[in-house]
């Protein structure tokens, strides 16, 4: 039952977010016209939260009691056991399980939001709306050639390279975290 919301098609969710925020947050932080990035991030967090909550729950249950008892027996009070042992273990479990699939989506979303949202800057066409970076690349790529200065194709290529570098960085950081986590899972 807890997973029921997952059955909701993304489009429906997206549409309801759009309607909801354009009504209640018009010109505000979550205005989907002014700040699509904010809404997008929020939507992703909420949709992924479900996995995280379930995961945290199971990993708390599955943390072997002896790991906590070993800590107690070395002289740690309960609060410290939770802070130093239980929480880190849960965190690494979450990272390790979440990473393999969704991290790619997550990285793409965050990256596209941050770079694509740089509207009005020198990269995207100032006249257009903020768009995800992949879309921006496509758009720039199809612009007519110019005489003199940088060709739009070159700019698109640079943008794509930037996207790739950022993604690689995110994945690298994530997998470093995951390596500790993975060690737990294979225990």
């Amino acid at each position: 039952m807890a997973s029921l919301p997952l059955a909701m098609p993304g489009l429906v969710v997206a549409f309801s977010y759009f309607v909801f925020f354009s009504k209640y947050s018009l010109y505000g932080f979550f205005d989907p016209f002014l700040n699509p990035g904010h809404v997008l991030v929020l939507a992703y967090i909420i949709r992924k939260m479900l996995f995280t909550v379930r995961l945290v729950f199971t990993s708390v249950i599955q943390t072997p009691e002896e790991l906590e008892e070993a800590t107690r027996s070395l002289g740690a009070r309960r609060a410290r056991v939770i802070r130093r042992i239980v929480l880190p273990l849960v965190w690494y479990c979450v990272v390790a399980v979440l990473l393999p699939g969704p991290i790619y989506i997550l990285s793409e979303v965050s990256v596209s939001v941050t770079i694509g949202a740089l509207k009005g800057g020198p990269i995207a066409n100032p006249s257009t709306h903020a768009v995800p970076i992949t879309y921006a690349i496509a758009e720039i790529f199809t612009l007519p050639s110019v005489t003199g200065g940088t060709q739009p194709q070159a700019r698109a290529a640079a943008l794509a390279a930037l996207l790739m570098v950022t993604e690689v960085a995110v994945i690298a950081i994530a997998s470093r975290l995951a390596r500790r986590g993975q060690a737990l899972i294979t225990l």
Binding site: A70, R180, A183
Partner: protein, 367 residues
């Protein structure tokens, strides 16, 4: 008054009675083993001493102070778990340093002590590894190092070697003994392995079904066990039933099927049913120099196997339900199956006790 007193401790889990009134007195600096079959309550007892469980009744006293209700972090005991319970998200170094950091020692002191522990247990060079990247033996050492480094006044070990292969177990056993001697730490060592208990411990408490049967040095318990269960549990033994036909000074004459044998008497009177425990070792088919120290078992050979260091023989005694296990020296002639055989068994390996129903039943079922 012992360094650690366990006083009449009772512990139930729902309907299961894990401990039915256990009392022990453990001295400072000794390696005290708690030995017994699986499920007899060893872990429960250790956990009560450590403070992870509170007994339903009874007390735990450390140096005259009642600690029964004291939480585990206030007791000064450190426990090493059966599965070692290393923190998988910390490196070897961090695992070992954890207890010292808790004690807020200065950084150089922590580093010094962690290095001491790493050297002590041969773990140099593994500091940066995670537990998941270590072998079983190495993990076991880290668990020991983590406990020893804080120099606890009492170290509690719950079958710390049982997850290792036989060879490694033997080696670590020796190392553990040396360490205990060197550091003079009071250790309570739980195990179901009689050899381990005998080779390690200064004294052993033999447990069965929630009670302590007997406490003594390994030599005492092995050579002259005062309880039936101890006799049966230590060594390669056979338990058979007989009838006491006569008693002398320290010995009893027992009718065993169609033969009569002598055994050391542990409280039997004429006419009693005797539970006779025969140790397999020390038997011989050669006429001994002092026949008075031996008793003779006469029967038919039902099994005869050359094992290497000895010949394993099972002797069927006429009128007796169960065959008796005997180890002959390997330089003797291997007896033929089906042949009649006379075997001399040292009297010190024949012990007769009142036939405690529960133990006898279990022993006869097992065979």
């Amino acid at each position: 008054m012992g360094f650690i007193q366990v006083e009449d401790v009772v512990k139930r889990f729902g309907k299961t009675v894990a401990l039915r009134g256990v009392s022990l007195s453990i001295e400072k600096g000794e390696l005290f083993a708690i030995l017994g079959p699986s499920g007899c309550g060893k872990t429960t007892l250790l956990r009560i001493i450590a403070g992870f469980e509170v007994p339903d009744s009874g007390r735990i006293v450390f140096e005259g102070r009642d600690v029964t209700e004291l939480p585990p972090d206030k007791r000064g005991t450190v426990m090493v778990f059966q599965n070692w319970a290393l923190w998988p998200h910390m490196t070897v170094y961090e695992n070992i340093a954890f207890g010292l950091r808790l004690r807020k020692l200065p950084r150089e002191e922590i580093d010094k002590r962690v290095k001491w522990a790493l050297d002590l247990l041969g773990l140099r060079g593994m500091e940066k590894r995670y537990p998941g990247q270590l072998s079983g033996g190495q993990q076991q050492r880290v668990a020991l190092a983590r406990a020893l480094v804080v120099q606890p006044r009492v170290l509690l070990l719950d079958e710390p070697l049982s997850n290792l292969d036989a060879k490694l177990r033997l080696r670590l056993r020796g190392e553990l003994r040396k360490l205990q001697r060197k550091l003079g730490i009071t250790m309570i060592y739980v195990t179901h392995d009689q050899e381990e208990a005998m080779s390690l411990a200064d004294r052993i408490a033999v447990m069965r079904n929630g009670i302590v049967e007997e406490v003594g040095s390994p030599e005492q318990l092995y050579s002259n066990p005062s309880k039936l269960f101890t006799a049966m549990f230590l060594g390669r033994t056979t338990l058979v039933l007989g009838k006491v036909v006569d008693t002398e000074d320290r010995t009893a004459v027992i009718q065993l099927g169609e033969i009569q044998v002598k055994a050391i008497n542990h409280g039997l009177g004429k006419g009693d049913t005797a539970a006779l425990v025969v140790k397999a070792e020390g038997a011989t088919t050669r006429q001994p120099h002092s026949p008075g120290d031996y008793t003779v078992l006469r029967g038919t050979v039902s099994v005869s196997m050359y094992i290497g260091s000895f010949i394993e023989v099972r002797l069927a005694i006429p009128g007796l339900e169960k065959d008796i296990l005997l180890d002959l020296p390997s330089d003797e002639k291997e007896p033929l199956i089906g042949s009649e055989l006379e075997v001399y068994v040292p009297l010190r390996n024949m012990h007769a006790y009142p036939a405690e129903e529960e133990i006898v039943k279990e022993a006869l079922e097992q065979a």
